[in-house]
């Protein structure tokens, strides 16, 4: 566990220094842990666990948009779990239950213990269609089609700067739309 936490902290430090690959690896690494905790929270609240992916994505949005609140000198895991816990409580509340989420839900999860989630999340997909076309196209190109910023710029006849702006705005808009539902 200590080793995992140290690895995450190291990855996040690299990410803050501009290492996109490290950031990508970090998000991939934390996702199974978040997923397991979301499932457990849903199960305990008597909710169908197949909604866990919406919660995972909600947490990932918050992690991304609030990443500047992480203190480089502090370990990453407590910061992550605090955000995850907050979002999980929100999600369960939204589903009509008041529930106490135990912090151990997160910290005791063994990575890799959870099966891959195959169901696509519905909430983000639904909101995607409400975005301005530019932002939607850029998001689609980078996320689903897996193109780089550079390739996306070429495909959509935009500058790389414009792609970056559209991507950032699109992600922020999506996160806000998820929040409004609460």
């Amino acid at each position: 566990m200590r080793e995992r936490d140290n690895e995450w902290t190291g990855l996040m430090r690299s990410a803050n220094a501009g290492d996109t690959a490290a950031y990508h690896r970090l998000l991939k690494a934390v996702t199974p842990v978040l997923r397991a905790a979301a499932r457990r929270g849903l199960a305990r609240a008597g909710q169908p666990v197949d909604q866990s992916e919406d919660i995972v994505q909600d947490i990932l949005f918050a992690v991304h948009l609030k990443r500047h609140t992480w203190d480089e000198n502090a370990p990453f895991a407590p910061w992550l779990f605090a955000i995850a816990r907050n979002k999980l409580i929100d999600a369960l509340r939204r589903r009509g239950r008041r529930i106490f989420v135990n912090i151990d839900d997160f910290s005791e999860t063994l990575p890799g213990a959870q099966a891959e989630e195959t169901l696509p999340a519905t909430e983000v997909t639904a909101h995607l269609n409400g975005l301005p076309k530019r932002q939607r196209d850029v998001l689609q190109s980078i996320s689903v089609d897996g193109h780089s910023i550079k390739d996306t710029a070429a495909r959509l006849a935009m500058t790389e700067g414009a792609v970056r702006v559209a991507l950032h705005r699109g992600l922020t808009n999506l996160a806000n739309k998820l929040r409004v539902e609460i």
């Binding site: 501009g18 996109t20 690959a21 950031y23 990508h24 998000l27 991939k28 996702t31 992916e53 995972v56 994505q57 990932l60 949005f61 918050a62 991304h64 948009l65 609030k66 990443r67 500047h68 609140t69 992480w70 203190d71 502090a74 407590p78 910061w79 779990f81 605090a82 955000i83 907050n86 989630e117 696509p120 999340a121 983000v124 997909t125 995607l128 998001l139 980078i142 996320s143 689903v144 897996g146 780089s148 910023i149 970056r164 991507l167 950032h168 992600l171 929040r179």
Partner: protein, 211 residues
């Protein structure tokens, strides 16, 4: 959208973000002219300011309000982190508290011309109760805008500290107008006015500081 796809999009979004502290500094600096203008238009400094500054009890008011504002700024920033709790750090508020308590103790030991209850009641408590909340509003609005970039675990608590820092800054302005210099007056009326702003901040925070 699959989570892996979302992660790819998030990882490509490398836009660097403002730190909450920098944003709070800029926002509060932007609010200063608004409150200062309101202060000079509505009340201004007291006429005997030149002699008042030689009175240590007049100066003490600024030590109390400035240390209150600074410690509340520090606590607001601390609470803007998702994993932060008040444990331990809240002791920083002892600085303004002890300054004020010390002032009261010293004043009590000195011979006085007027009774302590008269000093406590003062002459312009009603202005104090209005001026501090009104002057604090630009600061509170600025602080809340900046703190929205944070991720507080307890939005109402974070809002309360935003109220506290705003009241501290507003009281620093108001203290230059206020002719009641007794620490007893400050402890009573400044505190009441501050609590009003803290309540407004907590209420606003519980709505706008959720992330």
């Amino acid at each position: 959208m699959k989570t892996d796809d979302l992660i790819r999009a998030l990882a490509s979004d490398g836009k660097s973000r403002w730190r909450v502290g920098n944003l709070l500094t800029v926002a509060l600096l932007a609010a200063v002219p608004v409150s200062v203008a309101a202060f000079f238009i509505e009340m201004g400094v007291r006429p005997d300011i030149a002699t008042a500054v030689q009175n240590p009890f007049f100066d003490l008011k600024f030590a109390v309000t400035i240390s209150l504002a600074l410690s509340a700024v520090a606590l607001s920033l601390h609470l803007s982190r998702p994993e932060a709790t008040l444990r331990g750090v809240v002791l920083i508020l002892a600085v303004p508290f002890l300054l004020l308590a010390g002032g009261i103790a010293v004043e009590m030991m000195l011979p006085q011309r007027v009774a302590w209850i008269t000093r406590l009641v003062g002459t312009n408590s009603r202005i104090c109760l209005t001026a501090i909340p009104v002057l604090s509003m630009p600061f509170l609005a600025a602080a809340l805008v900046a703190l929205r970039h944070g991720a507080p675990a307890q939005p109402a608590l974070a809002g309360a500290f935003a109220g506290l820092l705003s009241a501290g800054l507003a009281a620093t302005l108001y203290a230059a107008h206020c002719t009641d210099d007794s620490p007893l007056f400050v402890a009573t009326w400044y505190t009441l006015a501050t609590l009003l702003v803290v309540a407004v901040g907590a209420l606003a925070g519980s709505r706008v500081l959720r992330y």
